[in-house]
């Protein structure tokens, strides 16, 4: 439990102070390059925080990664080159936007496939309802019919 508290506390500290995220001294002079750096870092996960991008995180490691991204950009790398550079070093875990290769394709096609299946079944259902015969009785048991008659009297 103590271990957990420490862990939680450190996580929350990481979460608590993102006003230190991008430091003024990190910002590149070229605004176009800087804006690319921001876009790239918003899509990279901070390894020591939970579910935070390096752009939001104040952790040292996140700062190192931000500086690395900017370094590569200044060297003239394209955005995909920067990404693959980072992934080579830190693994695919850092990508907040999962790749589309291999099994991940299941994840990406899930939404459209589910949607099409759901719409098709809904369509079939609607067609059935349209052609269904109008039910004759009100579906009430004899007791209920009696009670209904009583209620309708007053």
């Amino acid at each position: 439990m103590t271990m957990f508290r420490l862990l939680l506390a450190s996580l929350l500290i990481a979460l608590a102070s993102p006003s230190w995220a991008v430091q003024p001294d990190e910002i590149l002079d070229d605004p176009a390059l800087e804006s690319r750096a921001r876009d790239i870092s918003a899509g990279l996960r901070c390894l020591v925080c939970r579910n935070e991008s390096i752009d939001e995180s104040n952790a040292e490691l996140a700062r190192d990664m931000r500086l690395l991204v900017r370094e590569r950009l200044v060297e003239g790398d394209s955005d995909p080159e920067v990404l693959s550079f980072i992934v080579d070093r830190y693994g695919e875990y850092v990508l907040l936007r999962p790749t589309t290769d291999g099994a991940n394709i299941i994840l990406w096609v899930a939404a459209p496939v589910l949607f099409v299946i759901a719409m098709l079944s809904a369509g079939l259902y609607l067609r059935r309802r349209e052609n269904a015969p109008e039910p004759s009785s009100g579906g009430l048991s004899d007791d209920e019919q009696k009670r209904l008659k009583e209620l309708l009297k007053d």
């Binding site: 230190w20 875990y93 899930a110």
Partner: protein
Amino acid sequence: MIIELGHFALILAFAVAMAQSIIPLVGAHKGWRDWMVVANPMATVQFLLVAFSYAALTYSFLVSDFSVKLVVDNSHTLKPLIYKISGVWGNHEGSLLLWVLILALFGASAAWFGGNLPASLQARVLAVQSAITAAFMAFTLFTSNPFTRLVSPPFDGTDLNPLLQDPGLAFHPPFLYLGYVGLSMAFSFAVAALIEGRVDAAWGRWVRPWTLAAWVFLTIGIATGSWWAYYELGWGGFWFWDPVENASLMPWLFAAALLHSAIVVEKRETLKSWTILLAILGFGFSLMGTFIVRSGLLTSVHAFAMDPERGVFILMILAAFMGGALTLFAIRAPVLEAKGVFATVSRESALVVNNVLLAVSSFVIFIGTMWPLVAEMLFDRVLSVGPPFFNMAFTPFMVALAMVLPIGAMLPWKRGNLSRALRPLWGLAAFSVAMGAVTWALQTGNSPLVPVGLALGLWVVLGAMADVWARTGRGGLGNRLKRLGRLPRADWGKFTAHTGFGVSMFAVAALVGWESEDIRVVQIGESFDKGGYTLTLTSVDRVQGPNYVSTMGTLEAHRDGRLITTLQPEKRFYPIAGMPTTEAAIDYKIHRDLYITLGDPQDNGGWAVRTYIKPFANWLWFGCFLMALGGIFSLSDRRYRIAAGADRTRTDAVPAE
């Protein structure tokens, strides 16, 4: 002593809950009336016992009884009173007891206000509800006892996590729990109806208020959580697609689907088995959320516990209730014969589309949330699924929902005519698109986000107005205005909630698309320009708070030489918990928030200052507020207030055609 009494009361309540989950079921099966009605006093007793137990725990927080482990871990004598109260649920054990309290409260309400339910249905509802409560009581008592004492009590506590010492977060969990647990009522009604083998319009009418209430609470809970993140985390993010946030969004979407499909059951006696399934899955996703938060399986910033034992226990609860309910569903669903016949173009069909969009979007979030786990177990890949995926996969569903909503809302029940329904809407659609186009032309930059968001939001809001206006029927303007005031509250609920959806949609687009940011080092006395304001850092001071020390900057915002506002962003440090927090200073205005946070002192004597202009941020919370308010209007509709019983449904039922 009081603590032991509280503990004992919980054990007693557990015994009552177990009895209550069996006796009424047997009674309903055999037709023994006294075995059925005993559920009512039992539900009341159970609630009183849990309430006492909860009060005992709260008392130990109020008097700072540091012989109780939970109080030591989560409180401190210097902590303000309100956070002593909220500290009770600011941890795993206490929040679980709150869950149990709310479960018992909902069960007792079904006993108190369910007098007009058929006796066997009520008995079964109370039994199922009580079974859920019993399971969670066992969880509390056996794995997470909040009443554990310490052998040698310390002099003072270790304080509540400072992040939780905030009014927004203090009231975020109770509302979420009310929502999660509210869905348990819909679940209990669904399972009871499956046991009965009967779902009719009356059932739809009974289950809908519970669903509405749960949805309203979830809306408020999610909105306060998101608002808290906005002002507390220091850069104005409001949604992170964190597993725990997803855990609350999934049941919210299901509840939204359920409260729409329950209308179809109530008015048209069709979509029955689908509605039952939604009620089961809605609560299933609530349990899933609890599991995600408390098992630590999906690590997340707000996960309470990383304790496998607890995770396994919740997984067992989840498996038992979902497995049982779905099996029952598979056996009984074919018996639930649909009655209403309707054409493909009709309100019924529109609500089916609504349900498809809401349910599928929820499943997509589910898949995205679980995918890292699946990928690691099955494909040996450690990866992340973050905001870029969710934004891309989820947004189209909301866009589609916004597009069809005004049309569906105008279609009549049973059989509609698309061109007639569209007649009053063409102008509104054209106007919305035109406004979007104007925005596109006027804005700097070329992101289509805000123009599209504006067009959709406007379309939804105008559509809601057209709908309410159409409800006044024909005749002169005066007559129609008069009739406007006499419309049922459910109509106003629909109008308000749909308007809220449109407003939120626009606000999200504006906030994401038009936000601008400025990061710089500022010397004391130095000025800089941002978004038409001249900001001057006049001083940075150290301020002593009740249980923290603060570094407080003071900035003056001028516009055209006139002082607009003075902002005081802070960096706080809580020495007892050893944690820093950021307190952003925000100037709230109707068209934008001016949002400033103070960073670190720099080597050259200046301070890092971040300034954001957040356009239309307030509209987001206002939209959520409208959605919740709409739910409350619907909840207060006459048909739920006055005799929601079976005897009424047939007589004052709303005309179907």
